[in-house]
Amino acid sequence: MAELVVETHGVKKVYPGVRPLEVLHSVDLRVAQGEFVAVVGQSGSGKSTLLNLLGALDRPTAGEIIIDGKPLAALTENELAALRNTTIGFIFQFHYLLEEFTCLENALMPVLIGKGEATREDTDRVRDLLARVGLEERLDNHPSALSGGEQQRAAVVRALANQPRLVLADEPTGNLDSISGREVFDLLREMNRSAHTAFVMVSHDERLAFEAGRVLRIRDGYLTEERGPGHANSN
């Protein structure tokens, strides 16, 4: 089996309160390099919580999360930030592009955050990616000048800007019409194959999700394998 990008052991998440809310119960998950995993489940089932934990945006109440060989619990805040910057890419339901920056600058944002400035090489790489998603004419446009599908495609490129080992996508098509949603999904699949980056995509669109190689379902905080890794390349 290929190298593991994600590995969790007994991950539990409890939101404290008068009646503490246990969202995830003992989740064990392994995602190999280059895998495409769809996580389905009803809203409120804990999908986003799982994604936030994998993305080092939140810490688990119990259990261990290892991303790209690094146990998250051992990392400082700054080390976690560096991990999010270089190892992980995020795609959200909304594009969240910064209006003050052009399409190209937005796509380069992780590079700018990490290094302060993009090298020629970075710019060329991201420009190529933008061209591949059909945005070569839109490099200097600000987000408000792009269509919903274009905005989300720019956000996909942004997630890949630093050549991460893992991309976490939270309902990436949730805010798009079915045609644009399909385009973005196909794009994610294509990027997954060509960049050999592992994708974990949360979606409530089961029809799309089942086109992914591997489907996991979260129900009442428990993660179950809906369709195993064996289907990874069947498509």
Binding site: S48, N52, G55, L57, D58, E77, N78, A81, A82, L83, R84, N85, T86, F90, F92, Q93, F94, Y96, L98, E99, E100, F101, M109, P110, L112, I113, G114, G116, E117, R158
Partner: protein, 412 residues
């Protein structure tokens, strides 16, 4: 360093357009106000110093007042008491040339001039006026009271025996002009007849009004002081050293030394009150500007909280977010305070063009509001504005840095 942060802060400011312009204008106005008011008060103080303190001696040395005499019984003691009394009751300084030289060598002393000052009656064509007569050595006196600057006619430095220089108002009352003769009579009975060789304008200062300048020798004769003088006038390079210099003189020489700071305590109080007012205005306006910046940045942070969350999700460290918003505040402060410094300086220069009505012919008209563009005031104000802005931006910047990306992203 901080390339990304500076870029983001700058884009925020540019994107803010109207709001950014407004808040920069707000800071600029506060700084304008501070530079203008401080410059004005500073200028007024300088004028007061120049006109009032510049026309009097800052330290005046006299013979000590006679001590109250104890009734003497014993013969020996009585002899000593008599001698002491004779020495003390002399109203003039005998060895003034020696004292003058020693005073001139002291620190902070800029100029020293002997004076014989007394009261007399001046008479011309049947009109009498009570006057204060200053017997002076013009070249020395001019370094203390700057009469030359205030001459309407004639040359103060050319004042010689048989001549007098009279005040402009006094000349009007007596109806005398250059070349006319006046007669001075002292209480001791001496009289002299003098030719008016100059007319000066006594700056609205102290000691203006009925004043006559005559050569030292003339006054020595008029007031019967022999070769002695009644006062030694001293001007200093630092006004506020007057008390220290006076105290030193009194301790080191057998003289009584007065300082303007003690003679005119109201002036000191006025200076302090003015400076305190300027400081208060500065503090309030800059603090108000600080609050304005803080509120704008708080709104900016709220508006951008989702963006901040995304940036943090993409690996921005809390410190980077903090720096972005502090730089944003700094940008507002620098642009605003530079514009304000220019505005304040411009306002001062503009207002200086408004002149006072002429006080006397031949005397230059002075600005009504003599503000001064002091580089120090401008520098301190700009630095204070920048400091206050940075302090004001720390709070919103910290709340931005603390934002939890999960919460703000999920709020949608």
């Amino acid at each position: 360093m901080w390339r990304f942060e500076a870029r983001l802060a700058w884009r925020h400011l540019v994107a803010g357009r109207g709001q950014t312009v407004l808040i920069i204008a707000g800071v600029a106005m506060a700084v304008t106000l501070v530079v203008f008011v401080s410059g004005l008060i500073y200028g007024l103080q300088r004028r007061l110093i120049d006109t009032i303190l510049g026309s009097i001696a800052q330290v005046t040395v006299k013979v000590p007042e006679p001590a109250p005499r104890a009734p003497a019984r014993e013969d020996g003691a009585e002899v000593i008491a008599k001698t002491t009394r004779r020495t003390l009751q002399r109203k003039s300084l005998e060895q003034w040339q020696v004292l003058e030289q020693e005073f001139a060598a002291l620190p902070h002393v800029r100029a020293v001039a002997p004076e014989v000052i007394g009261q007399a009656i001046i008479n011309s064509a049947g009109t009498d006026e009570a006057v204060v007569v200053y017997g002076v050595i013009p070249s020395l006196q001019d370094r203390i009271t700057h009469i030359t600057d205030n001459m309407i006619a004639g040359d103060f430095l050319q004042l010689s025996l048989g001549e007098a220089i009279v005040d402009y108002e006094l000349a009007g009352k007596l109806g005398v002009g250059l070349g006319d003769r006046v007669r001075l009579a002292s209480g001791g009975g001496q009289t002299v007849s003098l030719r008016v060789s100059g007319i000066f304008f006594a700056q609205r200062g102290l000691g203006g009004g009925n004043t006559v300048y005559v050569p030292l020798r003339t006054a020595q004769f008029l007031f019967d002081t022999g070769t002695a003088v009644t006062d030694i006038a001293i001007s200093l390079d630092e006004l506020f050293q007057a008390n220290a210099v006076a105290d030193h003189l009194q301790a080191s020489f057998p003289v009584k030394a007065d300082s303007w700071m003690r003679d005119i305590p109201q002036l000191m109080l006025a200076f302090r009150a003015q400076s305190a007012t300027a400081l208060l205005i500065a503090a309030f306006s800059l603090t108000a500007a600080g609050f304005a910046i803080a509120s704008v940045l708080i709104v900016s942070v709220l508006k951008r909280s989702r963006e901040i969350g995304i940036l943090k999700a993409m690996g921005a460290r809390s410190r980077q977010v903090l720096v972005v918003f502090i730089l944003e505040g700094l940008g507002i402060a620098v642009l605003g305070s530079l514009a304000g410094a220019l505005g304040g300086a411009g306002l001062i220069i503009g207002v200086r063009q408004i002149l006072q009505p002429a006080q006397a012919p031949g005397i230059a008209r002075e600005p009504l509001l003599p503000g001064v563009v002091s580089p120090w005031i401008v520098l301190v104000t700009v630095l204070a504005a920048i400091l206050i802005t940075v302090v004001a931006s720390v709070l919103p910047a910290r709340s931005a840095a603390r934002l939890n990306p999960v919460e703000v992203i999920q709020r949608g």
